[in-house]
């Protein structure tokens, strides 16, 4: 398919592929096995400017939009979904600042992220709150020119490794989701520690950790936008980041399809490669078709966002939903085509299947995502503009 990439996007894609093939492929199984955060790879990505891609030019970035980010995430995910998410979660972490941060907040944090000196993370989920942001319990009480934070965030990607945390907290619990606010908390702030490091099914090289706040004092100037805007900040951030999850799913599925095709052409049964068997061919045909449809949807959504669309909640949710469900099917079928070998950790597809699962879950489970899409469809009475 011709997606009409610009010269810079082609270079960006091939650079991300070079890193994926030369640096990530040789270590992905080991990092997955050891559940080790890929610092060396993050540094390598930083020195090749990949961490600058999504940061505006005035803050030492390359000014690339959602589409550029998706191209990188897809290429990295083709080799390893875990390493790709460490990269993507960094972008997610600074999105609230890029969308709602003040000039001085941007000037303070964005160049450090662009250079790769500091990683970022975004924190909403808690033991009692995920899809339901109104149930957030972590509180931030104003005390003079500071906020005092108390509570625990859970399942935070890049937790412990990142230096800059954009955290959604309750500044006025009585107001429900309208009482939520977003704040920047820096690693090393007294009262801010890290809790349990999670042991996960997939994306195991990424860090997922609790953030614990105990009378943690944060300067009031760290408030992003205004008090009460936390829910809006979180929703608009996720609207922009969900195509990235779609791109991750597309990349993982691409890797799985390539592995399945390679194996099907090599594996001989009954005197022929199994790729000559129609049952296998039809599986491959379905995988390739669904994958391309998902890629087209993700790219179109990312371009819609970059073109300056005002509202794209529905498109972005669709891209994440369709691509992640596709990735789960494609990786499951890839394991099926590799059969016994596919179930073994010596081959990469079982990891891809484990990695794919999270794309149906994070940044909104596909069930809550469907509700969001339905809401939009009902609102516009299914009519096209």
């Amino acid at each position: 398919m011709e997606y009409f990439l610009s010269e810079q996007q082609k270079t960006l894609k091939s650079l991300a592929r070079q890193i994926a093939e030369q640096r990530i492929l040789p270590v992905r199984a080991e990092l997955d096995e050891k559940e080790e955060f890929p610092w060396d790879l993050i540094k390598e990505m930083a020195s090749s400017d990949l961490l600058r891609v999504f940061i505006p030019e005035e803050y030492d970035g390359l000014g690339g939009g959602c589409f550029d980010l998706c191209l990188v995430v897809e290429e990295l995910s083709r080799a390893c979904g875990g390493i790709a998410i460490s990269y993507a979660a960094n972008a997610l972490g600074v999105l609230p600042l890029m969308l709602y941060g003040s000039d001085s907040q941007k000037a303070k944090y964005l160049p450090a992220v662009a250079s790769g000196n500091r990683l970022a993370a975004f924190a909403v989920t808690e033991a009692t709150a995920g899809s339901d942001a109104s149930a957030i319990r972590t509180s931030a009480k104003r005390d003079g020119d500071q906020y005092v934070l108390n509570g625990t965030k859970q399942f935070i990607t890049n937790g412990g490794e990142a230096e800059i945390y954009t955290v959604v907290v309750m500044t006025d619990a009585a107001k429900g989701s309208r009482g939520a606010s977003a704040l920047v908390v820096e690693k090393g702030t007294p009262g801010f520690t890290f809790g349990k490091k999670e042991k996960k099914m997939g994306i195991r090289s990424s860090a997922t950790r609790e953030l614990v706040f105990r009378d943690c004092r944060v300067p009031a100037e760290n408030l992003i936008s205004r008090e009460g805007m936390g829910f809006i900040v979180a929703m608009r951030t996720l609207d922009r980041s969900r195509p990235g999850v779609g791109a991750q799913a597309v990349g993982i599925a691409q890797g799985a399809l390539e592995a399945a095709v390679e194996y099907a052409q090599q594996r001989v049964q009954f005197g022929h490669p199994i790729s000559a068997i129609q049952a296998v061919q039809h599986m491959l045909a379905n995988m390739a078709t669904e994958l391309e449809a998902a890629r087209a949807l993700v790219y179109a959504t990312a371009r819609t966002i970059d073109a300056g669309a005002k509202s794209f909640t529905e498109e972005s949710a669709m891209a994440k939903l369709f691509a992640s469900d596709m990735a789960m099917r494609v990786t499951t079928d890839a394991v099926q085509i590799l059969a016994g070998a596919g179930y073994m950790r010596d081959y990469p597809v079982e990891k891809m299947m484990r990695d794919a699962k999270i794309t149906q879950i994070y940044e909104g489970t596909n069930q809550v995502i469907r509700s969001a899409i339905a809401l939009e469809v009902l609102k516009r009475k299914a009519k096209l503009e």
Partner: protein, 261 residues
Amino acid sequence: MNVIVCIKQVPAKIKIEIDPKTSALASGGVDRAINPPDLYALEEGIRIKEKTKGKVTVLTVGPAKADESLKEAIGYGADDAVLLSDPAFEGSDTWATSLVLAKAIRKIGQFDLVLCGKQSIDGETGQVGPMLGEALGVPFVSLVNRIDELGQESIKMMRMSDEGHQLIEMTLPGVITVVKEINVPRIPSLRGLMAAKKAAITVWNARELGIDPATVGMAGSPTRVSRVFFPQRASQGEMLQGDPESQVEQLVERLRQTRAI
């Protein structure tokens, strides 16, 4: 320190076809890339430049479109690149190619070290490096896997050989070829690559290099490729017959005969 790195543009894909008429590699329509072994020479050159605050100039002999590989080399961190291109160079063998490179290096004038990859992945001769040393009349060391000391007058390095490693000191200026063990080439930066796309590549032809066309190209090449073909599979398996015990006896006997044990 002035470093010169010689690279070759080769087909990017391994599956290539041979033109049966000319016995040459059919290169039409194939994506082309920097010869992978040359990337180690380029990386080493850039590291020397960074350490000594020197300059890296990259040279290649090739058609007009070889400038893409030179731009890529600039993207990796080379300072300057010159394409040596002239219809008269077409069909040059390793001797004629070394002559063109030597003329270009003499034209540049000031140089301390010339780095080449150990061989190209298409021609696979490994001859251009040593011949270049000869053509320049400077010392040459092949298969370098480590540089230990680099001074103004000399270089100390380790060289791989079949029997082990050799520690060698060579006076400068000189030519070395490097092996992949010498370093891990960096991944270029996006900004570097984008800037390099706009870099102006100098082109020198035979006249500018002061080369007599009769000494290069087909005319100046003492070697001719008479035929290129895919080899027949030479080794054949042999199935040992009999019960397992006699098979083991036969196998041991065979291994003894071939002095494998």
